[in-house]
Amino acid sequence: MPVSTAPPTGGYVSKIDSALDQNKLTVFTVILMVIAAAAPFTVIGGGATAGWAVTQVLGIPVAYVAMAVVLGIFSVGYTEMSRHIVNSGAFYAYVTQGLGRIPGLGSAGVAVLAYNFMQIGLYGGFGAVLKGFLADQWGINLAWWVCAGIAWAVIAVLGVLSIEFSGIVLGVLLGAEVIIALIFSVVELAHPAGGTVTFDTVNPSQLFSAGTGAALATAVAGFVGFESTAVYSEETRNAKRNIPRATYLSLLIIGLLYAFCSWAMSVAAGPDKIVQMSTENGTETMFVLVSPHLAEIWLVLGHALFITSLFAALLAFHNTAARYTFALGRERVLFAWFGATGRRFRAPLWGSVTQSILALAVLAVFALADKDPVVYLFFWWTVTGGFGVLILMTVTSVAILAYFLRNRDGELAQLSLWRRFIAPAIGAVLLLAVLIVTIVEFDTLFGVEPDALERYLFPGLFLAAAIVGSAWAAFLRSAKPDTYRGIGQGVNAALLTVQPEDAAAHRAGPR
């Protein structure tokens, strides 16, 4: 560890640097925020089990490992490029810098749609789990959409007031979640089906069997949110070293946790039975597996944490979606009032309100349609969200390659070949491969017939969003050149009025 970072001027320490440093984040805090938003308990208890039930594909645990590796490779170029551009928390900023404003705004359309799918889908999981918990514990029978509606109301208010969980609350909840998940896993491993611990679900050969695209897409949904490390780059101590570190560590921790805990479930159920058990028990699978071996209190605690985990994810993705609309409002790509903040509370006011209205509309439709919320809302919508983010990451990886091939001056000249070419290229190829198998196996992912309308409709929506975004950018180029210039800049678009062309596109220098 370097003892001090004093500049070569001797004993002089900048007063403002040390003051600003005090408020900065550590690697630990960044990891905490990222993992808490990823909501491990939701992914393990909800994502993996619903994945088995819907896709009928065995290899979900090994898919988590595979995706962690792919995203790790992608992150090499991603975290490197994040230091050189503004608005670096948003994938479309990378696409804009690497491939241009028209694909940039197209990917912004994909992003808005993807985070919406993700957030709204989580209401289905929350509603179902809370409904079950209330009925089991206190005999209160509410419809799932009433339970989801309660979360909706709370989140609508918290979003407008800009209230988020504090680091301490998130840390405690996350710590408890992880501990319970590990305890459950150890109990499951101690009681394997048929008396032997099996490794079928983590066998890498699963990745080359039918349905691997569905398994990988299920896994991707569990990782969405890891990209937010880049948002904190200006606020993290020694960001150049710490942001990549936080990104890799987050991926490593959640990847291993997801894989371990889902594998443990498959061991306890038996690899031949896990699909059937998940189909029968849904989000209760994890609890059904450990209930013969643990006292009641652990199950109650587990359910409570499942609910808080879902809620934390709902709130995190609500804010992500609201901030996307806010940033696009600041760019004046959307109506400028989307870029207004609440006066009394520092919130992306209209982004937040819009998100709430959309969610309410979807909940209303699902409540009326009387469809299973876990399969058709929670699983379908969150994996579709994950699929959208997969598209974004694939395009972003190509944009990163293009950016580093085009920009080789200054600090970028010193970049190793691994960082600026090899890793981004491998990442792009791998992500593209995952994307293609996912598209091919979208019917398996949704658990529908190969010619079902949904398998084309859901992925097709992203194509539509990309076309609308790109077309809008093309229109802005000729109709509103000033707005066109601001695409991809986020809140920094304001500076374009006072700066010459593209001066604001890149940060002034390494900081």
Partner: protein, 215 residues
């Protein structure tokens, strides 16, 4: 400026007035936006005093002049204390840590406000009660009517309006003026000095970033 019926108050003091209710003294703006806005106003004061200038996004001190009051002096000392010039954004972030207390201190010393202790959810906090409601409401009235009637507005007040816009306070000033008043404001901003525009837009970006980061 000639049409002002009162003595010119420091820009940050007027921004402080805009942020608070003229009767109860309660803050009308979010804590963050207020602090960043006040930091921006403090920089603006030194700018209009001819002491600071903006070059390539960096805040530079011009030799010679000294500010009139202790708060402006303290801000200038901070800026002079750095060996290398820093960008506007860094200064806005740094100065926002103490800007509220500094400006409040100046208003207390001038007997424009009286510090009071309030309680909210078992937590004590200090708020500042205006001594004279007319004095407090003056910036809003002055700017609001000038915009609504499209009267000439001096450069310092245009700067104040810019900071108000960047922090989200402008709608409360425009009150009743409608689209025409807003268009007039945009026209004034476009005509303003390049340094003013840079400071205002950087203020907007700092607040926007706080919204994006959620912290």
């Amino acid at each position: 400026m000639l049409s002002d019926r009162r003595r010119r108050e420091p820009l940050a003091d007027d921004f402080f007035r805009l942020c608070h209710d003229d009767r109860s003294g309660t803050l009308r703006l979010s804590d963050d936006a207020t602090r960043v806005g006040l930091a921006s106003a403090l920089i603006a004061e030194l700018g209009w005093a001819g002491i600071l200038t903006v070059e390539d996004g960096l805040l530079l001190v011009r030799a010679g002049a000294t500010p009139g009051d202790s708060v402006a002096h303290a801000v200038l000392d901070d800026i002079r204390g750095e060996r290398t010039p820093r960008d506007v954004r860094t200064w806005l972030t740094y100065l926002s840590m103490e800007s509220y207390e500094r400006v409040a201190r100046r208003l207390v010393a001038g007997n424009h406000v009286i510090p009071q202790e309030g309680r909210r959810l078992l937590r004590r906090y200090t708020f500042y009660l205006p001594t004279d409601t007319n004095d407090f409401v003056w910036p809003r009235v002055r700017l609001g009517t000038a915009l609504a009637q499209r009267r000439p507005i001096d450069q310092i007040d245009v700067h104040l309006l810019g900071v108000a816009d960047a922090t989200g306070l402008l709608p409360s000033i425009l009150d009743g003026g409608g689209q025409a008043a807003h268009a007039y404001f945009e026209h004034l901003m476009q005509q303003s000095h390049a340094d003013v525009q840079t400071l205002v837009q950087e203020t907007r970006v700092v607040i926007g970033n706080k919204v994006m980061n959620g912290r």
